[in-house]
Symmetry: C2
Subunit: 368 residues, 2 copies
């Protein structure tokens, strides 16, 4: 059970609040990704300080490792990982399908193995994916779907999207714990009419929220944006809309502009590990020689723990020496950047200034 309220609309952009089992989150919002029940390198306190109010975990990964028996002992993933605020679990459809050579798909579900646990055989059906997420006791669970490969023909995409629809119906039937909110995932690849069919059928199934899946799988950004802009208006206005696994800062701005409320992406922590940091003027690559002697922080305008206490040269030194603290400080900064971007987006929408904000964002990106 959720309560979703739209406080203000600024063109298509929406400013809302989403009440979940464990707290209220402000939308548009970004969810740091904690695939393995840890947002890479960050303690829960680091996440909260950076502004995180909801994170994402991956049901498939946690089902394989450490396994559900253990997580049950903690009464769910919150207790296991010591995160008290809301969590959304991705069902893991995307991850199962990325094991392409090791999986076998049928109407019933997917049989697969993974080297991670020594190649044991597993079977996940829509019903099982729901049960797994109920054991995780996350605040939002996602339907189990087939992530259509890219590229795919129209016929392949149609067949795959229709299977995901049938699975969504089975997920809904299997869902028992109503304090957890179950959301549907729209598919349809790069074909607008298939996206339309998926969106309309999903609305009939009446989930509490909807996600756009199957994007960021290798297509051009223009194709991604086209599908986002086509699909979003077809998603029920009064329900939260989530763009899955996709987001450079500009993608988030385009998503919000289309009417998306929720985002997740591994980019902030992954880029931090590679020394790519977001600033109010664009990206800096800390391994570039010009930062080697720089006593200024990553971003002088940033109020994060990293920028308040450390210089670019110190972070560059740490990453050059392969020191864990470099990863940690960089992850704090990039996560803070994303969550602060969301805050600024929300303020802009509240003041009906989102289009101006968007324009100024692009103007500010002088570092590439």
């Amino acid at each position: 059970m959720i309560e979703f309220n739209i406080i203000n609309k600024d063109n298509k952009a929406r400013r809302g609040t989403l009440k979940l089992q464990r707290g209220i989150i402000e939308t548009p919002q970004f969810m740091p990704v904690g695939t393995q029940a840890t947002v890479k390198a960050l303690k829960p306190e680091d996440l909260s300080s950076a502004g995180a109010s909801i994170i994402l975990v991956n049901a498939y990964h946690l089902y394989i490792r450490p396994g559900l028996d253990l997580i049950e002992k903690f009464k769910g993933v919150h207790g296991f990982m010591n995160w008290k605020a809301p969590i959304l679990s991705d069902s893991g459809g995307f991850q199962v399908f990325s094991l392409s050579s090791l999986r076998k798909l049928s109407e019933e579900g997917v049989t697969f193995s993974t080297p991670v646990d020594g190649g044991k055989k597993h079977f996940i059906s829509p019903e099982k994916a729901i049960a797994i997420q109920e054991t995780l006791d996350t605040d939002i669970s996602m339907c189990f779907d087939e992530c259509t490969p890219y590229p795919s023909t129209y016929e392949e995409t149609k067949k795959s999207m229709e299977l995901s629809l049938r699975w969504a119906e089975r997920c809904k039937k299997a869902h028992i714990h109503k304090t957890q909110s179950l959301w549907g995932i729209l598919q349809g690849g790069m074909f607008e009419d298939l996206r339309s069919t998926s969106a309309k059928a999903m609305n009939v199934l009446d989930f509490e929220g909807y996600a756009i899946g199957g994007l960021g799988v290798g297509e051009d950004k223009s194709a991604t944006y086209k599908i986002i802009n086509h699909t979003t208006p077809l998603m029920e206005e009064k329900k939260p809309r989530y763009l899955m696994g996709f987001g450079m800062p500009e993608d988030i701005i385009e998503g919000v502009n289309a009417g998306i409320d929720l985002f997740d992406c591994v980019i902030p922590t992954r880029n931090a590990r590679h020394g790519k940091f977001y600033t109010s003027n664009g990206i800096i690559r800390i391994k570039n020689n010009k930062h080697r002697d720089e006593t200024l922080p990553i971003d002088e305008k940033c109020s994060c723990y990293c920028c308040k206490n450390y210089s670019r040269s110190y972070i560059a030194h740490l990453l050059q020496c392969e020191e864990v603290l470099g990863i940690l400080l960089g992850s704090i900064h990039n996560t803070h950047y994303y969550l602060n971007l969301m805050k600024n987006i929300r303020t802009a929408i509240e003041n009906n200034l989102f289009l101006k904000f968007r324009e100024e964002f692009y103007k500010s990106q002088i570092l590439k």
Copy 2:
């Protein structure tokens, strides 16, 4: 300039306070090792919470990377790494001599190269080692010495120890910044009479503190303990005594028992990275299957951030998934363990109960 006061003596164990440029530290004390201007994986706040009051950095490593020009811009290593409490710098003699095939030793100093900076030629003399540490502006600097290889003959060890003595004299002459305290390092390998000669000559040179160097280089522990017990009584009673780079918990207890005041060792953070954790009952190896489903913390009696919030199974999961957070939490725990051990040692000495404490420590170590 330092002030060292011995508050209580319990047999040979000493309970003291050591006033340095940036603060007072309680002795016996342990210094977490921050070779590259970072105690691996830990933020300064993590160190303080774990009870750290002084840390160690390595002058040789910082001279090579990031270089002194940069550290000068921060007016020393404190500003560079955001650590405000005292720091001891090791001169790096040990590290230079571990580059055995790349170095050339003369009366004047050592010429060497290292792959870390692409094989540039460097020259470090006693004078230069002092100047480097003055630039770092650490609270305690160490003489530049030759760490005698193990094994070495009597003649080789004598020659090496005498060179270190001549270098110590040159270090003392070169030392200008008297707010920084310069300490001498005793050598003499595994030969008691050479250790005696070194100790007596060092006392004449009148440093503010003394360290025992050249131990833990491959010899049996019985040999190490023999040299510690032989040498410590020869070191000036009223000055602080530091056992360099050596210390499992039992080694620290034996060192304190011999009259040592200060310790450093990479073991707590290194063992954390390998999943070896210290507890009040000895060591646990978290990768052992029996911890896989354990909801208890690493040590139920421990009050560190890790034990207050996380289970063994969660830490085991993180390390199995090679997640940075596992290294971080484990490093917090092991560092806290060491610093808490020192606290308990100090309390025992204050109450003239150190020998009883030592006995109980050995009895408690049922996990190996």
